[in-house]
């Protein structure tokens, strides 16, 4: 595995590791690590650093819905032009083109069910290329982006073992 990949693996697991910690773990100097990370940021390999938050625990519940959208593709642009229009709405958190019964899978987030419903009714459904929408409100999140979002019991190893 090359050094860049080693660095990315570490950051993927814990973005707050310091350059010094990473340097020692991959066998480079701190300056080399800083340089490599800067280069990865510049070239867009590293998009940004985020925090995985369980908002529910703070009592700040958000409402999210997955919306299946059927589209009439446009001549010359296929799905791209309409997808680019949809993704610019800040309410849209995730947008995929998928195979199967519908075309776009849109994850929308809002502060209330009403708000999400209004977004679909007023912004999404009226787009001329959209032929139908099916809204699935999310009832419970179990796992998001590879992170499990609930507290299992704490696992404890023996503190000292042979």
């Amino acid at each position: 595995m090359d050094r860049r990949e080693e660095i990315l693996r570490l950051l993927e697991g814990d973005a707050r590791l310091s350059a010094g910690e990473i340097a020692r773990a991959v066998g480079l100097s701190e300056a080399e690590v800083e340089e490599t990370i800067a280069e990865l940021e510049r070239s867009g390999v590293i998009r940004k650093y985020k925090t995985v938050i369980n908002w529910e625990k703070l009592g700040k519940e958000k409402v999210a819905a997955l919306i299946d959208v059927k589209i009439t593709p446009e001549r010359e642009h296929g799905y791209d032009a309409i997808a680019e229009r949809i993704m610019r709405f800040p309410e849209v958190k995730t947008l995929y083109l998928v195979s199967g019964m519908y075309d776009l899978s849109v994850l929308v987030e809002g502060s209330s069910m009403k708000e999400v419903a209004a977004f679909v009714a007023e912004k999404l459904a009226p787009l001329p290329q959209v032929t139908s929408t099916t809204t699935h409100f999310i009832l419970k999140k179990y796992k998001e982006d590879g992170d499990m979002l609930y507290d299992g019991e704490e696992l404890r190893r023996l503190a000292v073992s042979p």
Binding site: L10, L17, R24, S161
Partner: protein, 385 residues
């Protein structure tokens, strides 16, 4: 009331240094523990899931004393593929309850009262007691940091007597992290032949090497017939609690071990054997992922220890570092106790692994980089006082 009834052999063995330290650690809050002898990963889900499935289907019965045939077959095949050594799954593979049981069986199958078992030191904690319980004499063979804790033929020969019968090898090594290269093993093989020794080679850390590929002792010319090779799933697949190990060897010795195993244990738990089978079938990627992660931690810890000012040879296998603490002027037990009390970091004093471990402590890097980083900062504070 029972005290005077206890067998001499059992009384002869002192309480474990690890246990003693375990009790000390239990009394301290907020400890970062580098004292563990097991992975910090949880068994990969596909392996756990396979176990659940086997339970759903009703696999709750005994297996053959030797273990599930399909598991033995898979082990024989994996051994052949990885190391080119042939073992017949029918009578040369025995599934045991961890390597711990396999070692006990091997010793009991070989040792007569008074026979000497040569054990390189620092050593894993179980070899000497098992030897004594079996009526044998445990003879320590010192290894040194100058030789990166490899066993040398000179040190070995110096301890050989007419009663020498068994040599125990454990590379990659717990507690030192030492490995033996092919040429190191070949030099030992010459001594083994010359003095007609049998080798019990505990290779439980074989998948965790970071510089060169592991060389099994049995793969050396003429050594397959003189060697009982022990291995298991605990370390490579993060499966310590499942208790599945195995022994590979000539049919005669495997049958002798099975003879004891069938009465003492009957068989290893079937659900764990099913899980082990899944591990062999599709656990390879997980092993490699974990190995890479250990390697990053290894580099980090060795680097930090040297920066802090503790001499530390670079371990090439397992997940332990064994730094020298001689420069602090403290003995290893004092060092470990004070580090625990003053900075809440648990390490194991080298003396828990025999007198040869004095002047060292064992630190396991089977912990997150973040915890390791914090532990090293605390260690630095401890030493700067």
């Amino acid at each position: 009331m029972m005290r005077h009834k206890l067998a001499k052999r059992v009384q002869e063995v002192p309480p474990s240094g690890i246990r003693k330290f375990f009790d000390l650690v239990a009394d301290v809050e907020g400890v970062i523990s580098l004292g563990v002898g097991e992975p910090d990963f949880i068994t990969p889900w596909h392996i756990r899931e396979a176990c659940i499935y086997s339970l759903e289907r009703g696999y709750t019965m005994y297996t053959s004393n030797y273990g599930l045939a399909e598991l033995r077959e898979a082990i024989a095949l994996a051994t052949k593929r990885r190391y080119g050594i042939d073992y017949s799954y029918e009578d040369e593979v025995l599934i045991t309850v961890g390597v711990s049981e396999a070692f006990d069986l091997a010793i009991r199958a070989l040792v007569n009262p008074g026979d000497e078992v040569l054990i390189p030191e620092p050593t894993y904690v179980a070899y000497k007691p098992c030897t004594i319980f079996a009526g044998g004499r445990a003879v320590s063979v010192p290894t040194s940091v100058e030789e990166e804790f490899r066993l040398t033929p000179e040190q070995l020969e110096a301890r050989i007597t007419p009663r020498s019968k068994v040599l125990v090898l454990n590379y990659p090594n717990n507690p030192t992290g030492a490995t033996m290269r092919r040429r190191d093993l070949e030099a030992i093989a010459d001594v083994v032949v010359e003095h007609d020794l049998v080798v019990i080679s505990d290779e439980i850390y074989d998948r965790l090497t970071y510089e060169e590929k592991h060389v099994p002792f049995a793969s050396l010319n003429g050594m397959r017939e003189r060697c009982i090779c022990l291995n298991g799933f605990s370390k490579s697949y993060a499966m310590t609690g499942w208790r599945i190990g195995y022994a590979l060897g000539d049919a005669e010795v495997i049958e002798a071990m099975m003879k004891i195993h069938q009465y003492a244990m009957l068989c290893a738990p079937i659900m764990s054997q099913k899980a082990a089978l899944e591990a062999l079938r599709s656990g390879n990627n997980a092993v490699e992922e974990m190995r890479r992660e250990y390697n990053r931690r290894r580099r980090f810890v060795v680097k930090r220890l040297r920066e802090i000012g503790l001499e530390c040879f670079e371990p090439r296998g397992a997940f332990y570092v064994f730094p020298s603490i001689a420069s602090t002027g403290m003995g290893s037990e004092e060092f470990a106790e004070r580090l625990l009390k003053e900075q809440r970091v648990a390490v194991v004093p080298g003396t828990a692994f025999g007198e040869g471990g004095e002047g060292h402590v064992r630190m396991a890097y089977a912990a997150s980089l973040r915890d390791l980083s914090e532990a090293m900062s605390r260690l630095e504070k401890f030493l700067s006082r």
